[in-house]
Symmetry: C2
Subunit: 359 residues, 2 copies
């Protein structure tokens, strides 16, 4: 973990200074550049290079509810591009109105993470995109083959797969469905004023936001929330100092009094040290991606900041400190790229397309 | 009914010829102009004038799942702008995974109709938009007041309502939510090649499509499916010649063997003559708005055409005739306007925003 962090930091300093020899750097900016980097335009994957053809196809699939058994639920249902890539629900609703166990993370900037899902059980977006389609309480497709057959029954999709995967004999595969979706997602970067700050425009942040940034580093938030996405690049126990559920319980909505304790990454690795360990969530657009934590238990960003300081760092922040850190966090609200807000027109089904099933 | 049809026809001829004196009109075009009119750009409503401010606000509300109790379902869930304004399900899925009784009609060109819903129980889109938000098996909001309070808790919405309804003291009302949504919907016109034909470009249709158009008129489909939206301007009994359910039953999916008989407009008027009477569905984009009929029982357009001829006109069409009519109907597939495919960015909730409820 620590090693990864250091590597990222060094890269950040090397890439982002953009200074002539002898030029003076603002001390806060210099400090920030030790921990954070501006967003790239695209996060490419040599195993799945991002091409315009894949992105176009991936966007259609991302919005296509026929990737669910019911024909009702698409990737966009829970990772809504119009609301910063989330559904703003505590935990998501899936097939048959099943209420899932964890909060839907945002798809924006998600490509930057070391792994996907709260417990990191998928190594990248290409693997992640394969999960929810088959999950019986999410999109509930009966099998990979079923999903492939449904897509193959639509001639326009078959053409688009040929263009997106030009050297493959039989390009409509389950893996390629996920690869196309992932390629689209790899373009979903939301640069904000904080990027302009990191690029040298020290006026891009207000005085209060700068004080928040300074506190964010000094209090220790930065130990986990660093890199270009201010998180998403390591795993950490939720509840370093206090069991997390003891602290979050008072915030849970009245109609949901008993959120079960979540063992986190332990369920994936079965290692004792992974008990209650989660991927550190990225903080880009955190102002918009409420409610917070893996269980969506906390709705106010101020509360989330206070709880983090208490459970992770054993610190009690003053209301003024919380206020400043929140001001800084709001400077991470970015601009959604135009192409992410342009809906595709979905191709029509055919006689061969399997019908929706609600049960 | 008949009167309405004639009025529309006369208007159509007057407006759409665009000929200089003495110019010859193609006979098929002349015939077509007796029954059909090109789409307008906007269908305005003097009681709710379409303004850019209302359209912008209406589009946001159209996509906002916070108009549902769960925070999951928006207008767009069942009237998906990416799939020609429908969900392509037999009948729609709502709050708690409730399966509704009727097929979701398309929102595109819907403003042209004499009334809204299959049974015409709302006189216009302004009235229609108030229905599903409160329907317990659709968006399930507990009350109008609850909906208004949720929207009022979001400052950005309050500002947009002030701009959209500038002369009103308290512009965030349930009626204005519906008015804004309706104003957006009044701009959702999808002109097609058929409009170019009606405007005088006789090459806009292929020979086969023209033969289909001629049959469409001669067989008698045009008696109900006329006007700018090829339907939507009168009510008619489904099953003029044969009970509709006897004919559609063989087409119903195996997992749903017992679709109940729907009394149609009788449920609204309680008049004997309205038994099994429905609003004639418009045929614009019919190629894309499968499955067909009020119960979504039939998936193939060819079958729907055959059933219509049998149940409504007592005619058995040959496969060749069906084929030609279907070719004509596909020429009604229009272009979705660009602004309908541009997603809004939804404003964030606040502490005062009521939380999603799944039960």
């Amino acid at each position: 973990m620590r090693k990864k962090l250091l590597v990222l930091s060094v890269v950040g300093v090397g890439v982002a200074t953009g200074l002539s020899a002898g030029e003076k750097v603002d001390p806060l900016l210099a400090m920030a550049r030790q921990y954070f980097q501006p967003l790239p335009k695209v996060v490419d994957n040599p195993q799945n290079p991002v091409t315009p053809e894949k992105v176009e196809l991936g966007k259609m699939l991302y919005h296509d509810p026929r990737l669910s058994k019911s024909g009702l639920i698409s990737c966009n249902t829970c990772h809504n591009l119009a609301s910063y890539g989330v559904d703003n629900l505590p935990t998501s609703v899936g097939h048959g109105w099943a209420i899932g166990p964890r909060n839907a993370p945002t798809v924006y900037n998600a490509a930057l993470q070391i792994a996907q899902f709260w417990d990191g059980r998928a190594k990248d977006l290409e693997e992640q995109a394969q999960g929810p389609i088959l999950n019986p309480i999410e999109m509930a497709m009966p099998s990979k083959e079923f999903a492939v057959e449904r897509i193959k029954s639509i001639p326009q999709y078959v053409e688009l797969f040929k263009k997106a995967f030009p050297n493959e004999k039989d390009p409509v595969t389950y893996e390629n469905i996920a690869k196309a979706i992932a390629a689209f997602e790899r373009t979903l970067m939301t640069p904000s004023r904080f990027d302009r700050f990191l690029q040298g425009d020290t006026n891009a942040l207000t005085q209060k936001e700068k004080e928040g940034l300074k506190l964010f580093v000094e209090v220790g938030c930065v130990a986990c929330h660093n890199g270009p996405n201010l998180g998403g690049n390591m795993f950490m126990k939720f509840g370093q100092v206090t069991d997390y559920w003891r602290v979050t319980r008072p915030y849970v909505l009245k109609d949901k009094p008993t959120i079960p304790v979540d063992v986190g990454r332990f369920a994936v690795t079965h290692k004792e040290e992974d008990m209650y360990v989660f991927k550190v969530p990225p903080l880009r657009n955190v102002e918009k991606t409420y409610p917070y934590f893996h269980d969506g238990s906390v709705w106010k960003l101020e509360d989330a900041v206070r709880i983090m300081a208490e459970t992770q760092l054993g610190k009690k922040l003053t209301p003024q400190e919380v206020d400043k850190i929140v001001a800084f966090l709001k400077s991470l609200t970015g601009e959604i790229p135009k192409h992410a807000l342009e809906l595709p027109v979905l191709p029509a089904s055919t006689d061969r397309t399997s019908k929706p099933e609600f049960k």
